[in-house]
């Protein structure tokens, strides 16, 4: 059984650019959540989508947006990148709308220069 897959694994962007990160959940999972993990900190919740609807949003600026597709995969978009957006972005998928059964992907390491 394939786990949660995220792409790309690493990328480098310049300040002011835009980036799109992708996540494919485990087959059968309908929930996708996004977390930002800055170096040396715990992950911080950004968004949760369940059945293609936004079910939760963390304390992040409007530069961050996401969506979930009919096949339950998801994209996280970040506009007008800042140096402080450099982090590991983690995607978690689950069968229901609670992350009590969440499985995390390996993450996308974003470096903003």
């Amino acid at each position: 059984d394939t786990g949660v897959t995220q792409s790309p694994t690493h990328l480098i962007k310049t300040r002011g650019q835009q980036v799109t990160l992708r996540c494919s959940p485990i087959s059968g999972h309908k929930s996708v959540s996004w977390y930002q993990q800055v170096l040396g900190q715990g992950p911080q919740f950004i968004f949760q989508y369940y059945e293609k609807e936004e079910r939760g949003r963390g304390n992040f600026p409007d530069r961050f947006s996401a969506r979930q597709f009919p096949n339950y995969s998801s994209e996280l978009n970040v506009n007008a990148l800042l140096l402080g957006d450099s982090a590991l972005y983690l995607c978690a998928s689950g069968p229901g709308n609670k992350d009590t059964e969440a499985f995390f992907g390996q993450g996308t390491r974003l470096t903003v220069v």
Partner: protein
């Protein structure tokens, strides 16, 4: 709102010694409790979780944790650690009620096991 405090940022131990990683939480609502492990350059792996029932929870790799409601704690323990347990450990909570979910994580504890 919920918050999680991991009381030790770093815990160095020798191989085969016991270890306890401490976690306290604050919440105005009832929560679920979790411990995750993160190896270098990896995502998070669930070690164990407390949803209900027995307050002593057993997880993978020989870890266990005890939920103490009166002290709002969920400390992680292992009676004998291995070199391979060296990793970052995160305690997390999630509200029981309401639509959606957000795992609220602590800042992490680095467990370093040496021979």
């Amino acid at each position: 709102a919920q918050s999680v405090t991991q009381l030790d940022s770093q815990v160095p131990v020798f191989e085969e010694a016991p270890v306890e990683l401490r976690c306290n939480y604050s919440s105005s609502v009832s929560v679920y409790l979790f411990w995750y492990v993160q190896y270098p350059n990896q995502g998070l792996q669930l070690l164990l979780k407390y949803l209900s029932g027995s307050t002593l929870v057993k997880g993978i790799n020989g870890f266990e944790a005890e939920f103490n409601k009166s002290q709002t704690s969920f400390h992680l323990r292992k009676p004998s650690v291995h070199i391979s347990d060296t990793a970052e450990y995160f305690c997390a909570v999630s509200p029981r009620a309401g639509a959606g979910t957000a795992l609220i994580f602590g800042k992490g504890t680095t467990l370093s096991v040496s021979s």
